[in-house]
Symmetry: C2
Subunit: 335 residues, 2 copies
């Protein structure tokens, strides 16, 4: 079983302490990882929050085999200045970006099974030449798959894929079209088959409007935009249902009837996911040549360095990345 | 303790059987009601679904005192043709409307404590001259309070008030303005104080956009429309917080910090409410001179007459109406 590569994230955020906590939670399991991080800052952080973690420097992923139970393997990515919790510093932008680049390179050459990213703060990276709206687009560029990536949020109760993501609600409505729904549904369908082991994924397509438009009385996007996508997907043999009234499609009874909900906008997907389970949500990027997951929260500057950050979502992200890696390598005839 | 008036709803829907089930559930409690319904159809329905309910005809609310434990008091509203489950009939529109009118009249003259409405199907009523988008607007007109009514959905976990309601998402965005938020928040604040016994209600105001607009990067309605409303509400001494990122404001931890969420559109309010609890949601109309609640579901033609409809939401609506009636009469110096 290959390790995963875990990135540094913003050194002013909670990523470092989550990494330390995750090692404690997972050291006796098969879900092992290498941190692409600054060993000095991790050691200082471990002391500061009273979380004892032996650190072992490695120069390549192959060196890390067999040591995870006893120490956290760290492939060093040095900070320019010490990371101060809660205080992002542009001087460290190159290290933050470098951690992501090296993790991705390890995954592309098969030295690690996949990449798990700690949260970054884009604003702190822009001056260093980071020209992407976020992690996902950066990874797409690094792996040569720009424009095809799809964000899925997965928790034990629910998987959701928002068709429009980081735009205002007004802009999301303006940009939503049949092709975007098709692309999201096709990528999701392929990923659920390949990486999630679901032979015939059931996709529930959300309506856009209240009551899914009530036959046009409350909006017509269900018939003009969503229905044509569903017709095309069915013609491709994909199991789709909908368009469902958004307010009743996330109940337990409704969720039992599908494997993933294709949602029309960010909050239609994220409100039910986070309301049902704030802690175990994992962000999975579909449509990349590599496995990539991340916790479903941000840098949390307000609590960084205090030792109170909850590692549940990062641990869930590591566990899911390991599972997806296993499935993918099994499908390739490996392991 | 005054009884409540329970309307017939669409005789082709599940209202009748819910009424029968609610009587069984509540007959030994103080939460008693009079059905404004056709006694023959209720008797036939009781036989059809095997739910034994003695029916006692009354000619006024005062006649019903003391009999609820032994029989369901029915103030007759006769159907023109027998109600057939699953098959709405325009011939019965006058009876459906008449039931609502008589229940409201009883409440307006203080003969009942409040009105609980079974679900209707507006389409089946339009030919009979029903000219309202729904129950709420009809009740507002009947009670002389047009244009001031606000819909609140309440469950044991969450109360939500959507500022825009039955319009397409696109139209909801176009019509949303500061005055609408102000009106919804003021009416909600007054109702929580008077009818819900909350001395200093805490109102959480939702953002409109993902991440509440991320300081304008993902939309500016938070600063142009929502913030001015919050400033005005604070000046009036109302405890408001926000604008909150919509996806994280409905977690258990977040919900503990407010008494009601003021939401910008239908599904922002209804998705979390129904996802958390599909069965116990109650629709409460605020801003009327009378107490009015209803179950949070529709006519459910697909299961009508089969005896399988779940009365939980109607029972919750009756219990909440009784509670609001008690509080209101106590506030007026009554019993």
């Amino acid at each position: 079983m290959l390790p995963l590569a875990l990135t540094m994230g913003d050194p002013a955020g909670i990523g470092g302490e989550l990494t330390l906590r995750a090692w404690h939670a997972l050291r006796d399991t098969e879900r092992w990882f290498i941190a692409l991080d600054d060993p000095d800052r991790l050691a200082a952080l471990a002391a500061a929050i009273g979380c004892d973690v032996p650190i072992r420097l490695v120069t390549d992923a192959a060196d890390a085999a067999g040591i995870f139970r006893d120490a956290l393997p760290v492939l060093p990515v040095r900070l320019a200045v010490p990371g101060v919790p809660g205080r992002p510093d542009k001087a460290n932008a190159r290290a933050v970006i470098g951690s992501i680049e090296r993790a991705t390179a390890l995954a592309m050459r098969g030295a690690v099974g996949g990449v798990v990213t700690n949260p970054i703060n884009k604003a702190a990276l822009y001056d260093a030449g980071f020209a992407y709206p976020g992690h996902t687009e950066f990874l797409a560029a690094l792996t040569g798959a720009p424009g095809k990536q799809i964000m899925m949020l997965a928790s034990p109760q629910l998987r959701v894929v928002p068709v429009t993501v980081h735009a205002s609600l007004r802009d999301s409505l303006a940009m939503l079209n049949t092709d975007m729904i098709l692309a999201a549904a096709r990528t999701t369908h392929a990923a659920l088959r390949r990486d999630f082991g679901i032979a015939r994924p059931r996709l529930a397509i959300a309506g856009l409007n209240p009551h899914a438009g009530e036959q046009g009385a409350l909006g017509d996007e269900e018939s003009t935009i969503i229905a044509p996508a569903m017709t095309a997907l069915r013609a491709e043999g994909i199991d789709v249902s909908g368009p469902w009234p958004p307010d009743t499609m996330f109940t337990a009874a409704a969720r039992a009837r599908y494997d993933v909900a294709i949602c029309m906008y960010h909050d239609q997907a994220l409100i039910p996911l986070k309301t049902l389970d704030m802690d175990h949500g994992v962000n999975v990027t579909l449509g990349l040549p590599i496995v990539r997951t991340s916790p479903d929260h941000g840098t949390a500057y307000d609590i960084a360095g205090k030792g109170v950050a909850d590692p549940t979502s990062l641990i869930a992200a590591i566990e899911l990345a390991a599972l997806l890696t296993e499935r993918r390598s099994a499908a390739l005839g490996g392991a």
